[in-house]
Structures are given as structure tokens and as C-alpha cells.
Amino acid sequence: MPDWLAMHRTMKLIRGFEEAVRGLAAGGAVPGLVHLCSGQEATNLGVIAALAPTDLIASHHRGHGHCLAKGAAPDLLLAEILGRAPGICGGRSGSMHVIDLAHGNLGTNGIVGGGVPLALGAALAARNRGDGQVSVCFFGDGALNQGLVHECMNMAAIWKLPVVFVCENNGYGEFTALEDVTAGADLLARGQVFGIPSGMVDGMDLRAVYAAASVSVARARAGEGPGFLICNTWRFSGHHVGDKQDYKDDDATRAWLEKDPIPRHAALLRHEGASDADLAAIDTEIDGVIRAAVSFARAAPPPEANQMRMHVHG
């Protein structure tokens, strides 16, 4: 029986973390661009919770939620995003290149679709070892039009590799709506073409995502080959912090806000017997964790100059 309360806590952690990042970015503390996943927590966590700790993921540019769900320490992740020395990658990678193999994370990625072949390769290694490890790659609806994804699905299918392709469909590739760039009425066809079992799920429903992902992961682990899961979700923020989101329809935005996965799940928990006090305790604890992370990251030193030339080669 999954620990729904613990998973609820993780969703709150992700939400709180992203809000903290937004504030830091607005205040100029974040180098470069940063992409927030608020609203997509159920998708991020629902899939990752279905994995074993030894399974691997490959993420994308909107990947803080994946990192946290996979077990990254919030303070070290935040320090990385701020480009500080104690960050997960020594501050050199920032938000878009967080590689955290200690937690089975092949990395967030600055190239659309860039993580998909990495997960495919990890699945190849797993097949050769025969140890049942599963890999998951996350990509957005925009990446569905990358030929690279098509190639990787084909190879996963012909070799029956243990990889699950998860499309976090939030309806937009940067500032462009899905339907303006994606031909074909049925997105699932893009996986079905290869004979890959493909399903679509409400990405704002934590438990639905978890159930669907569990099926795909179990199949992959049993050697039955890849799966394709489309999670319909919404990003509450812009493409990046600073994006004014003029391209979004106001009515749609309102409708999606009402589907916020966190209050929805809170209601479910209450229905199952959780008390207001239980939920408030989570809020308090997460608040503390986020505050500590922010203090830690803000105070963390930048990397020394001598770090620049290190780790180019082994």
C-alpha cells in the first residue's frame, strides 16, 4: 500500500521549492533561465514513486520536481540552481544540467528530448546486466515532434528494452500550443506505431498517474519491453520565470487551476481520515525545510576559480 501521506508531503515539497526558486529568480539570485514545474507535481511524483530507488530517470529542463522526487536534498539542489559550490554539481551546471547519479538521475537537460536516448542507453545496460533495472525518460509535448524520440521508441521496441517513455503534456512547447505544431489527432498513435503499449492519464491525479506508471514499470521490469504514458497536465507558471504567458487562454488557465493536484489530493486524504492537524503538520515541516534550504543556498559560496578547469577529462 503506497504511503500517500508521504507522497503528499513530497508534492508539497516540490511546490514549496518551486515557489522559493521563483522568489530567488525574481530577486536576481538565479543565473540564466529557470523553468518551474508547479502544477505538474502529480505527474513527476506519480511516475517516480512507482520506481525502485535503484531505477534510473532522465529528466528535462523543467526538472526540479523529478530531482526532488528521486531523493535529491533540497538544500543541495537549490545551491546548484544558484550556482554555488556545495550544489549537487558544484554549482557549475545549474537548473538545466543537474546530474545526480547517487539518486539514479541521469540528469535534467537543456536539449529538448536530450534525456530520451540517455534513458534508452541505461535500459540497454540494464538488459545486458539482466538485473531488472528500469529507466524512465520524461519529456514534454514539444519533444513529441523530435525525430530523436521517434528513433528511440523504435529501438526500445525492436529490442524490448526496459524503458518507459513519459510525456508530460502540458499543452505548450515554450510559447506555442501543442495543436499548432503537432499533426495527427491522436498522440498515443506515436507510441502505438511501434507496438508499444500506450496510455493516457489525468496528470493532475497523483494516484491515477501512480497506477498507470506502476503497470508500465512492472511490464518493463518483467522483460516485456517499453511503455508510453502521456500525462495530461498543466504548468501554472510560464515557460521560464519571467514569461508573461500572454499565449495562454484565461478560461483554460482557470479551469486547470481548479484541478490543482495538491488540494485535490488533500481532499482525498481527508476523506480517508487524515485530519487538518496531519496536513498542517506537513505544511509546517515543509516550510521549515524550504526555509533552511533557502538560507543554506543563499549563504553558500560560489565555486573557486580553480574549479573552472577541473573535470573536463578524467
Binding site: G114, G121, V312
Partner: protein
């Protein structure tokens, strides 16, 4: 003491020996590419491996270079040691993103925690009439990307040795093989044989000028040196063997003795590998030079199919001799 006859084999076979030896020693070494498995390679360059190691370790991919190479990168991050073949060097353009934006940068981006121990082997070579999309080698492009290592063997012995070093290296290493050298024969030690990356070799000693030659140009340089000797010019021929990291000290030590340098490559001259080597020589051995550093490369044009044009692309022995003579005798243009 009984001295065994040196064993002479061809370049292609030497590489297969290196691959087979590595694959027997380490089950994480896999070969990935198009037609590398059941067919043994379109140039027969992986012959025998599929029969010995099977489909899980010698993997035939669809025509999906981009996805397949990205897969190799991910596999390397996850513990395998892939040798990925790009059939023709020209198709490196199709793997560029995964090579440049992923493979080259993973170690750096992860602050040393992750690495990509893979080898990208590819063929190149003007002269077979294969035309502009099947003749190129992009060593210069790859050399320009921090994080990648590059080796260019000129003979069977080094082909075997450099491949062994490349496979053992925990960084992404590109090995460029000139198809014109595939049938070339030479002595090759049996068993495990490693030529370390970053170590140049002096192919021929000489006191009058230093010729730094890459890949197939080594043979041409040696032929030219033979002709120059008849004129009383003794050329020293250095084969860097690895482009990144480049054995600068061996090259500079030679130039400090000869005072003249000529750099040769079979890839387009403009902005090429020769430009980097020439720049390094003039930066660090300027006071020893008696003449500007000379460079010869392929013509800066797409490679034409017509034989009458194609044969003009690469500098030949006569061109090298003339350039060397000019440098030494100072005859000007």
C-alpha cells in the same frame, strides 16, 4: 635468443583484434552501429565479433544515428563501455548534439561524478569516388569541443594500440580511421597492445625540418622525406597519433632542433587541425624558427566525385616535397 618474426597484418584486422581483446576482457564493452553485427561491417571492420559475442554485445541499429548514439551515451553513463560506429565520418553531423551537448559535457556538468566512457569510431577518406557526403572527417570540429579526445592512427600497430587506449579511457574518445589505410599492412604485436593517448612518435629522424603529419599524410610525408634526402634535406617526421590531447612537447623539441616546421593533414586546410598545431609551434618556439610554419591540407571544397578532380584534393608527395624545399631553401612562392 630466438627472435620471432614480426607479425604483419592489415589495419582493419588490427582494429578487430583490439576490439575482440577488449570485449573478452570486459563484458561491458559493446559494439554499436549500422551493419556491424551480422554483416560484419560494410568495410568488414567488425568481422567475426558478432559470431563470438552475440547480438547483445554487437548491436545492429536502425538508420537512426542520432538516437542510437544518444543511447550509447546513456549506456556509458550507466556502466557499459560502448564502441559506437558512425559509418561515414560525414554522418557525424547526425550525432552532433549528443556528442557535443551531452557526451562531451557530462563529466564537467556532474562535477566529476559521472562520466561517459565511450569510443566513437568513424571512417573518412578522399579517393574512392564516394563524393561530398561520404568522404569527410570532422576531427577539427570535434577537437574544438572541450571534453572530447581524438586519435588518428596512421598504421596497423597504432590502430590496435590507440583503440585499446581509447576503450580503456573513461572519457569519450573519437578515433578517425582513414579508409585508404584499411588495407595497409604492418607489424602488430599479438595480444594486448596499448598506445597511450597523448603520445606522439617520431617516424623518421632528421635535422633540417620537422614535418608533423596526421593519418594518411604520415605515409606521404615519409615518401617525401625519402625524395628530400636525395637533395640533401633531412626531414624529421612526427606522427602525433592523438590530436586531443596533443603531445606538444615532442613537437616543440623537434622544432627547436630543426628550426623549421611543416604541418600536413588530409582534411580541409582552413581552420583545421594544422592551424592549431601551427599556432602552438609559433607561440612556443618562435625564437627557434627560421621560417614561417607551413601548412598543407585538403582543398577547401566539397569533395567531388570525378576522379580527375578528386585526385587534386589531397596534397601529394610532390606538393609536400616542394613545400618542404621552399621552407628549407627559402625559395619563396
Amino acid at each position: 635468443m630466438f627472435m620471432a618474426e614480426p607479425r604483419v597484418i592489415d589495419f582493419r584486422t588490427a582494429v578487430i583484434e583490439a576490439l575482440a581483446d577488449a570485449m573478452r576482457t570486459d563484458r561491458n564493452v559493446v559494439v554499436i552501429g549500422e551493419d556491424v553485427g551480422a554483416a560484419g561491417g560494410v568495410f568488414k571492420q567488425t568481422e567475426g565479433l558478432f559470431a563470438e559475442f552475440g547480438a547483445h554485445r554487437v548491436i545492429d541499429t536502425p538508420i537512426s544515428e542520432s538516437g542510437a548514439f544518444g543511447m550509447a551515451v546513456g549506456a556509458a553513463m550507466a556502466g557499459l563501455r560502448p564502441v559506437f560506429e558512425v559509418m561515414f565520418g560525414d554522418f557525424m553531423t547526425l550525432v552532433m548534439d549528443q556528442l557535443v551537448n551531452q557526451a562531451a559535457k557530462v563529466r564537467y556538468m556532474s562535477n566529476g561524478a559521472a562520466c561517459v566512457p565511450l569510443v566513437l569510431r568513424t571512417t573518412m577518406g578522399v579517393g574512392a569516388g564516394l563524393g561530398p557526403q561520404h568522404s569527410q572527417g570532422f576531427a577539427a570540429w570535434a577537437a574544438h569541443v572541450p571534453g572530447l579526445k581524438i586519435a588518428i592512427p596512421s598504421c596497423p600497430e597504432d590502430a590496435k594500440g590507440l583503440f585499446a587506449a581509447a576503450i580503456a579511457d573513461d572519457d569519450p574518445v573519437l578515433v578517425f580511421e582513414d579508409r585508404a589505410l584499411y588495407a595497409s599492412r604492418g607489424p602488430v604485436p599479438p595480444g594486448r597492445h596499448v598506445v597511450p593517448l597523448g603520445v606522439a612518435v617520431t617516424r623518421r629522424p632528421g635535422r633540417d625540418l620537422t614535418i608533423v603529419a596526421i593519418g594518411r599524410m604520415v605515409g606521404i610525408a615519409l615518401d617525401a622525406a625519402g625524395k628530400l634526402a636525395e637533395e640533401g634535406i633531412e626531414a624529421e617526421v612526427i606522427d602525433p597519433r592523438t590530436i586531443v590531447p596533443l603531445d606538444v612537447s615532442t613537437i616543440l623539441a623537434s622544432v627547436r632542433r630543426t628550426s623549421r616546421a611543416l604541418v600536413l593533414d588530409a582534411a580541409p586546410r582552413r581552420f583545421g587541425v594544422t592551424a592549431e598545431i601551427a599556432a602552438v609551434i609559433q607561440e612556443q618556439a618562435f625564437d627557434w624558427l627560421d621560417a614561417p610554419v607551413g601548412r598543407l591540407g585538403a582543398a577547401d571544397v566539397p569533395v567531388p566525385v570525378a576522379h580527375s578532380l578528386e585526385q587534386l584534393i589531397i596534397p601529394d608527395v610532390a606538393t609536400v616535397v616542394a613545400a618542404a624545399r621552399d621552407l628549407v631553401r627559402g625559395n619563396g612562392e
